[in-house]
């Protein structure tokens, strides 16, 4: 059903190109349209997520949450966005201008680029790269540079400490993050998201069943990658006031803020795709005949809800405990998981 | 030990170290100590098991400009024996100097800094005698009775 919609939209686009006389560069235009559509969708989705986070936290804290702007306070984030964008851009005089300027943009763009390869439905994907998994890991590693630049160029001690913490954290947690995907790649022999989902469709089970260990390690490391509580030590407001974005305000702060949420979306989308079967319907609910992207979004929202629930339940880990958890718990577990999976794959003769 | 017993015991034990020991109208034991025996008395009060004043509850000072003295007041408490004692040390108001009890009770560190800050009593041997409440470049001692901060204080009728 999803691809039918895509076909229909593509047909409309063809007609539009023909009308405007742009048919010769249709290929490039398609890409641009896809990118803009993805950007718009993710932006709106992130705004919704900010609202959702506030509602979830309110629910957990027995409050009501935003309920003034729009129905159920749905437009609250919009109001916040307007406030942030019209705010005066206060910045330190002795900042390092170029990195200070680049950092929020980089943090924002790098995470956004990750969404490009995630399939929303069968054949509904902006760029179905053969190396999609690798691409996401590579492109999200840009955020480290962004955060380090932000921390360094702000000329603020809290920011610098936050930048260090963040760099150490992201570099450490990237290892278990990648290692927890590796078993899936070993089983499927593919680095392409669509192929991984198709494999799950053919196999008749989702990878969360045989690979639940990998699923949990992935969620944990993805939370850490996105600097979310309980791993939010880089911005730990009770210690470092705001960490690397202490000195940022207005639009630049909004970019970091959005970047963090997009990172959550990307991690959840990846988890939903490779562990929860992407656009595949829930078992025993296939009769509903809902479009694939509804299933996909439901799974993404479920994982995002998990991550939000973590944030409002747990205290923050200390920096050395965080490193201990990453290096002494997550990495050995993931490596062991890879080893076991390798044996099983060898025995059963699965894989590429 | 009741306060009366405590008073008579101190009277007999530390005859050479104290100037006077009285039972106040509120039944508190007030000891005025000889300046040279201040540290020795405090150490004895803390270490001797009969007294066991482990806890320096409070250390402050009172300014008596008419008698030209500042009295450093220590309030001691024993957690085990549950009795209270007030030790007083008179220092010269023009040149206020007192030995520090910081080595005996670490808690005295900040209390003495506060007294130094607000009364100007110099505690000799204190490891870190700086102003604690007022700015470091402040010249006056606000809790002295003759303190005026020209134009800043509006006296209530």
């Amino acid at each position: 059903m999803g691809d039918q919609i895509v076909q229909w939209v593509a047909g409309l686009l063809r007609q539009a190109y023909a009308m405007l006389g742009l048919s010769p560069i249709a290929g490039i235009l398609d890409r641009i349209v896809c990118a803009v559509a993805m950007f718009g969708f993710v932006s709106v989705f992130v705004m919704f997520l900010v609202w959702m986070e506030r509602k979830v936290s309110a629910h957990m804290q027995s409050r009501i949450g935003p309920n003034r702007v729009g129905p159920f306070g749905l437009l609250q984030t919009l109001a916040d966005a307007v406030k942030l964008t019209t705010k005066e851009d206060v910045h330190p005089v002795k900042r390092d201008k170029i990195p200070y300027f680049i950092a929020p943009i980089l943090a924002f763009v790098a995470t956004f680029m990750g969404m490009v390869v995630v399939p929303f439905d069968n054949k509904v994907v902006v760029a179905d790269l053969n190396i999609g998994v690798l691409y996401i890991i590579a492109i999200t590693s840009f955020t480290v540079i962004a955060i380090l630049s932000a921390g360094w160029s702000s000329n603020n001690k809290y920011s610098l400490l936050g930048g260090f913490r963040s760099a150490a954290q992201i570099v450490s947690y990237e290892v278990p993050l990648v290692l927890s995907i590796v078993p899936i790649i070993m089983i499927t022999g593919k680095l392409n998201f669509s192929s991984i989902v198709q494999y799950q469709q053919q196999a008749g089970y989702w990878f969360v069943v045989p690979q639940f260990v990998a699923f949990f390690t992935f969620i944990a490391s993805a939370t850490a990658e996105a600097n979310r509580a309980p791993f939010d030590i880089p911005e730990a407001e009770s210690e470092l006031t705001g960490g690397f974005h202490t000195e940022y305000s207005g639009v630049k702060f909004a970019m970091f803020f959005l970047g963090e949420y997009v990172a959550v979306v990307v991690s959840s989308a990846v988890a939903a795709t490779i562990f929860l079967g992407g656009w595949l319907p829930l078992p025993f609910f296939g009769f509903l005949h809902l479009p694939g992207f509804i299933w996909f979004m439901a799974k993404v929202l479920f994982i995002i809800y998990l991550i939000m629930a973590f944030r409002w339940t747990f205290p923050r880990l200390r920096v050395d405990q965080l490193m201990d958890f990453g290096w002494k718990v997550l990495i050995p577990i993931t490596i062991l998981n890879i080893l076991i999976t390798g044996f099983v794959v060898l025995l059963l003769g699965k894989g590429a | 030990m009741t306060n009366e017993e405590l008073k008579s015991k101190i009277e007999s034990d530390f005859k050479d170290k104290i100037l006077s020991v009285v039972l106040s109208g509120q039944k508190e034991v007030l000891v005025t100590v000889k300046p040279e025996a201040y540290i020795a008395l405090c150490r004895d009060l803390k270490t001797k098991p009969d007294y066991d004043f482990q806890h320096l509850s409070c250390l402050t000072a009172v300014d008596y400009p008419k008698e030209n003295k500042i009295t450093v007041v220590c309030h001691l408490w024993s957690y085990k024996k549950c009795h209270q004692l007030t030790v007083k040390l008179d220092v010269d108001r023009a040149n206020p100097k007192a030995p520090t009890v910081e080595p005996i009770w670490k808690a005295a560190n900040w209390f003495e800094r506060e007294v130094f800050d607000l009364y100007g009593v110099v505690f000799e041997g204190h490891p870190d005698l700086r102003r604690i409440m007022m700015p470091e470049d402040y010249a006056k001692f606000p809790l002295r009775k003759d303190f005026t901060d020209d134009g800043f204080i509006i006296k209530p009728n």
């Binding site: 249709a26 390092d96 170029i98 680049i102 054949k123 590693s141 540079i145 669509s194 590429a352 | -």
Partner: protein, 185 residues
């Protein structure tokens, strides 16, 4: 069209590489280095080696540059931009650089390049995505398998070197742990 893309990429690479050696602020140097590495991955992408491009970004931008920035931030004072670009070893380093460049040119000149579009013994498979690539796409190449085969197949003779390098890396890792570990006493 595609050639223009190459020239843009090459321009970015050369410009940022020049920045790396000329800018006085070490942190800016590191950022320029990241830019260079990213440009190089663009070249890989341009040549059709998606895997290599991703790995280039992952390792050189995501890891090596971050390590360098980390080192800079740990060793130098914040916002201190008085790094000297020249010192008395400039001549020696110029000679060394020239020698390296000469060797590289020799190697490059003797190599016969093949782009991904004409793979030598490609593991060609059917394209996965038909609707998303409106223009006739190049035959889908499982380049990861290709790369793995090239590295690990015994007849290519790289298997031993590959294993050797991984052992080397492991020993480096162990060494780093030993150095970084504090004395238990």
């Amino acid at each position: 069209m595609t050639l223009t893309l190459f020239y843009i990429l090459a321009g970015v690479i050369v410009a940022s590489a020049l920045l790396v050696v000329t800018v006085r602020n070490l942190f800016h140097c590191a950022l320029a280095l990241a830019m260079t590495m990213f440009g190089i991955s663009g070249i890989y992408l341009y040549l059709g080696w998606e895997f290599l491009a991703a790995v280039q970004v992952l390792i050189y931008v995501g890891a090596v540059t971050v390590l360098i920035i980390f080192g800079i931030m740990l060793t130098r004072r914040v916002m201190d931009d008085t790094a000297r670009v020249m010192n008395n070893q400039v001549l020696i380093s110029f000679v060394a650089a020239a020698a390296v460049m000469f060797v590289l040119f020799m190697v490059v000149g003797n190599s016969s390049f093949q782009s991904n579009n004409h793979p030598p013994e490609a593991a060609v498979s059917a394209p996965v995505n038909e609707t998303q690539n409106p223009e006739p796409s190049a035959p889908y190449v499982d380049e990861v398998a290709l790369l793995a085969g090239g590295l690990l197949k015994p007849q290519n003779g790289f298997a031993f070197a590959f294993e050797f390098v991984s052992v080397l890396l492991l020993s480096a890792l162990v060494g780093a742990v030993v150095v970084a570990r504090k004395d238990p006493s």
